[in-house]
Homo-oligomer: 372 residues x 2
Amino acid sequence: MSGTTGATYRERIDAVRTGLEACGAAVAVFGLSSNLRYLAGFTDEPGERLFLLIVPISGEPTMVVPALYLDQVQAHQPSGAIRSWADGEDPTDILRDIAAGLGRCTGRVLVDDTLWAGHLLAVQDALADRTFGLASDVMNPLRMCKASDEIAAMRRAGEIADLALEDALAEPIAGCTEIQLAGRLEAAMLDHGAAGIAFETLVASGPNSSLPHYRAGKRRIEDGDVVILDYGCRVDGYCSDISRTVACGEPPNEADRVHDAVRRAQWAARERVGIGVRAEEVDAAAREVLTTAGYGEQFVHRTGHGIGLDVHESPYIVGGNGEMLQEGMAFSIEPGAYLPGAFGVRIEDVVVVGAGGAVPMTEAPQDMRRVA
Amino acid sequence: MSGTTGATYRERIDAVRTGLEACGAAVAVFGLSSNLRYLAGFTDEPGERLFLLIVPISGEPTMVVPALYLDQVQAHQPSGAIRSWADGEDPTDILRDIAAGLGRCTGRVLVDDTLWAGHLLAVQDALADRTFGLASDVMNPLRMCKASDEIAAMRRAGEIADLALEDALAEPIAGCTEIQLAGRLEAAMLDHGAAGIAFETLVASGPNSSLPHYRAGKRRIEDGDVVILDYGCRVDGYCSDISRTVACGEPPNEADRVHDAVRRAQWAARERVGIGVRAEEVDAAAREVLTTAGYGEQFVHRTGHGIGLDVHESPYIVGGNGEMLQEGMAFSIEPGAYLPGAFGVRIEDVVVVGAGGAVPMTEAPQDMRRVA
C-alpha cells in the first residue's frame, strides 16, 4: 500500500514469527512474490537472479539482493540485514553463510509456494539437514482477511475495471482480433490509473468461449459471436478480476438461456455469502442453480478463488473446502457454462465478506449486452 | 511455433531422454513453462493447480492436467498419457501413482527451474528416495541455438517492437504518466499482430531512469526528462526485447555524452560477437568502452541475457561466463549507465549469432531523439 508504514511491515514480520512458532517451524524463506510485497513493501516479477527474504523465528531477517535492485530495496528501508551480490558472483556463498548463522533456529523451513525450483534447490542445498514445508501455512491466515486500506485498493481496482469495459465496448468490436480487444481493455485500465494489469487479459470469442482457460488469439470477432472478457488490474499491488459475457450482434438462441442461468447461479452464490458460512456452501449454491437449469455438467470449474495481492490466493470457493468465511475475506464468484464447440458464458465479480453479506468490488452491468 | 508438428515435439522429447542419459538422470519434470511449450506446444501462466509433464528416460511421458485444461491439451495431441484431475480432487494421489510406475527408472530427477515450490515439494514427497537437480542442464543445450523458424518468429516480434516505438512516440509524451506510455506501447504491439507482451513494459522517466530495474509508475513525464523505454512482445511464443532512451524536450547536458558512450559500448559488444567467441568477451567489450568514457562504475549490470521462449534464458552475457558462442544463439546486448538521482541511459537490441557476426532482431534508430 502506498500508505503502509515501516511499522506495519515490522508487525507483519512479527506475525510471521508467531506463525512459525504455531507451525513448529523455524525459518521462512520468500522470493520475489506477493508475500515479499506484503512483508517488505517491494516485489518484482520472479527471475533467475537469487532474491530472498529469510525470516528466522528469532533474530533479524536477512535479504539476499541482486546488486541492481539495491537502490530500490534500500528505498523501502526493510528491517534487518541486506546481503547483495553482483552479476558474475555466486550468491550461494552468501546463502551458505546465512545458513551457518541459522544454527540456533533448529526446525522446519517454510518456503514461498511460488519460489522457483532453481532457488529452492539452492536453499535446500544450503540447509541440507532440514525438512521443508510451504509458507502459505503461515501467510494465508495473515493475508486472507483484508484490512480497510486493502479493501479500498481492491475497490479502486474494481472501479477501473468497470470503466475499462465501457471504454473498450464504446467502439465496434466486430472485425477486431481477440488480442486487439484485450489490448484495448488493458490500455484503458492503465489510462484510468491502474498501476498495471493483474493478469494477461482473456478475450474468448465464438467457439473459443467454450474453452474455460483460453486466453486470446488472432481470431477476428464476428457478428453472432458470444464473447467472454475476463480481465483485471492492480492498484497499490491489489488486484481486480471481472468477467462479462457480451454478444457481437445477435448470439445463438440458446445463449440467452445459458446466460440467464449463469447469472442466477452467480447471484445465488453471492446471496449465500456470510460470516461463518463454509466456502463449499457458496460453491454449492451456484452449482445447484446450474444443475437445475440443465447445465451442471457444463460448469467444469470451481466457483471462485480468493484474491488480494495475488490474483489467486486463499480461500478457494470449491467443493470440499469446509473453511468458514470471515469478515474481510475477498474472493471471486464466477460460475460459467461451456458448450463444447459452440460458446461459453461466465460472469464474475470479486466480493468481500462484510457483516451484511457480500460486498462487490465491481459493478458493471451483467446483462449479455449486444455490441456492434 | 504455429508450424511446429507433432513429429518435432516427439523429436524434442527424445532429445530430453538423450540429455537425461548424458546427465546420469532418470526423469524430467516440467510445469507450466516455456519448456512445456517447447516440448508439447502448449503452456500458460503457472498457477496453484498442479500441471506437470513427466518424461521418464524410458517409457511414455505422462501429463498431469487440471480438468479445465483438458480440451486445450488434447487439441495439441501430446504423445503419452494424460491424467486429469478436477477442482476439489487431490492431484497428489495421481502423482504417487505415477511415481510408483517410475520404479524402473532409478536415478536423479531433474525439475523445471521455474517450477513452483508448492509443486516441487509435492513431487519430492512422491519421489522421496530421489535426489533432485535442474532441468536446465538438459534444456539449455537444446534451446540455446535457435532454428530458422524460431529466428523468423523472433525477427517478427522485433519488427513489431520497432513499429510500436514509432506509434507510441507519434503523439506527445509530456504530461503522460509512465504507465500510460507503457500502455500505449503495449496496445501498439498487440495492434500490430503480437500474440502478447513479453514482459511488463518498463518506462522510467527523469530520476526514475537512474534505477536500472524500475518498471513504470504514476510519475508524469516532464520537459527535460530522459526516458528509458524497455519492452517487447511475443510471436508464436518467441520474445522480442528492445530498449531505447529518448528525451522529452531538451535533456540535461551530460545526457548526450552518456548516451554516446552507451551507444559506442553497445556497438563494441555487437562487433565482438562471433562463433567461438566467449560470452564474457562480449561483456568485456561493452564494459571497456564505458570504463574508458568514465562510466564503468555506472554500468551496474551484465551486458545481456539469452532470449527465446523465455525473456531471460541462456546464454548470459556476463563476466565469468566462458561459454563459447555458437551459430543460432540469441541474446540481448544492453549496456547502460545510471547516474543516481539524475538519469540513466540504456540501449538494447537482441542479436542472433550468424556466420558473419551479430544479426539484429530490432532496428529502430538508436539516437536519443527529442520528443514533444
